[in-house]
Amino acid sequence: MGLRKMNKLILGEKKEVNQGTYEVTNLIDSLTIKEDVKLYAFNQVSNEYFNLDKKSNLYYEKIDYLDKDIELNFILDNNSTLDMRYLIVNQGDNKVTLNIKCLGNNNHINLSIRVINKEASKINLEINGHILANTYDNVLIEDAKGLTNGQDVIKICPNIYADTSEVEANHLVTVGSYNPEELFYLMSKGINKEEAQKLLLKSFVKSIFNYYKDREVINFE
């Protein structure tokens, strides 16, 4: 991402944001997105409401250390894109509800979500994609993966409610432990199991990010 100029966005004070890249530093109430906006939010755990105006593009990287239930809502008008990369590190018994609603046509939504729990925590992630009747050319892709540690519970429900056949929608959900072949590969290079698992955890969460990929914001201990 280099030396791109980035503003801090005090979202509590803003109701609308136009072109730009922002590091989110305050809790979001509701926000209207216009034109091209990139948002980066680290550990801003709260309910969020986004309205994507016509022909707007929102790229959103978000990392939450979750300790309560939250609800994230995105409403898209026409000809907009939402590309969300979201890591949830959960502690406790919590629920995340992600609602996406396409009111109009030709919206493209791509959700890449990674979920991990601390110790014996439980998380319930519900993704609801709503495509309204009489709309067309909307694309909705839900990709959610959970990596279990053996003592926790990860539940992911990807729901797509499409009231039209003029939509391309698919969802991919996997919940599982470390890939044993990847583990073997790393261990066969002399890395012990604990370190190999740490590397794979890093791989699991970082692969969805661009901005946060090379930033040491996540503690893998």
């Binding site: 990847e182 073997f184 590969y185 002399g190 890395i191 370190e195 190999a196 590397l199 791989s203």
Partner: protein, 250 residues
């Protein structure tokens, strides 16, 4: 020296290797040949104690140390290095990170990052890849040739004492095949490691001056010989030779 004694290996309840005996002396190259599905890749994985491959009889002695029941990473730290046919892709973990960790583990020291990067850049030049190659994710989105070069980069950095090559020559174009052969031969000439090579191609073996050959069938060694045996196999095939009955040893 590596000595495999009367080894039996099972995957679930199926016996893949039985009564498998093989000795590789210090500085010796040993080629294992055999039809598909006879256990060649199994021995590679069993040597590194892959969790799917259970050793139910026999033992493996490496430099007087019994490694039969050792953990994979401990075995690798002794200087045993496997390059498999299709190396694993791991997105999100860079080659340099992997090499740094493996190098630290092997040497019990924290390698200086600047020193490591300088060495890796030199190795990248030897392998005719861009210097940024070291910062790419492990084998991720790489061609067959790039993956093998990536594995060689690790090898040249970690300097193993025993190299296992499981069909390293598969999926390589002529230039990559030549480069891989040259790099391995140069390494062999400089460090004289033990090598176990699995291949179907004599062309690849021509990179090495001398080697021993063993033929495996149904999970057991049925014939030992010299490089002339490899030439015979290439000329006549496994079936003709194994059915007509080899001598147990040449």
């Amino acid at each position: 020296m590596l000595k495999i004694n009367n080894l039996e290996v099972k995957v679930d309840t199926k016996t893949i290797l039985q009564n498998f005996n093989l000795t590789i002396n210090d500085g010796e190259i040993h080629v294992l040949m055999g039809p598909n599905g006879t256990g060649k890749s199994t021995i590679c994985k069993a040597l590194l104690h892959h969790f799917d491959y259970k050793i139910t009889k026999g033992n493996i002695i490496f430099n007087d140390l019994d490694i039969t029941n050792k953990d994979t990473s401990e075995i690798a730290s002794l200087g045993i290095f496997l390059i498999s046919q299709n190396p694993m892709e791991i997105e999100g973990v860079s080659n340099s990170e992997l090499i740094r960790l493996a190098y630290n583990k092997q040497t019990n020291e924290q390698v200086d990052i600047f020193e490591l990067n300088t060495k890796l850049k030199d190795i990248a030049q030897t392998l005719k890849v861009d210097k940024q190659f070291v910062h790419r994710d492990i084998n991720y989105n790489m061609s067959g040739g790039e993956k093998k070069k990536n594995e060689l980069m690790q090898l040249l950095m970690l300097k193993p004492k025993f190299i296992i090559l499981d069909e390293i020559d598969s999926g390589l174009d002529i230039d990559a095949l030549k480069l891989v052969g040259q790099v391995l031969n140069n390494y062999y000439e400089e460090y004289k490691p033990m090598m176990l090579i699995i291949t179907h191609h004599l062309d690849f073996l021509n990179n090495f001056k001398d080697y021993k050959v063993s033929i495996i069938k149904n999970g057991t060694i049925i014939k030992n010989g010299s490089k002339s045996l490899a030439k015979l196999i290439e000329k006549e095939g496994f079936e003709a030779n194994t059915i007509s009955g080899f001598e147990k040893n040449e």
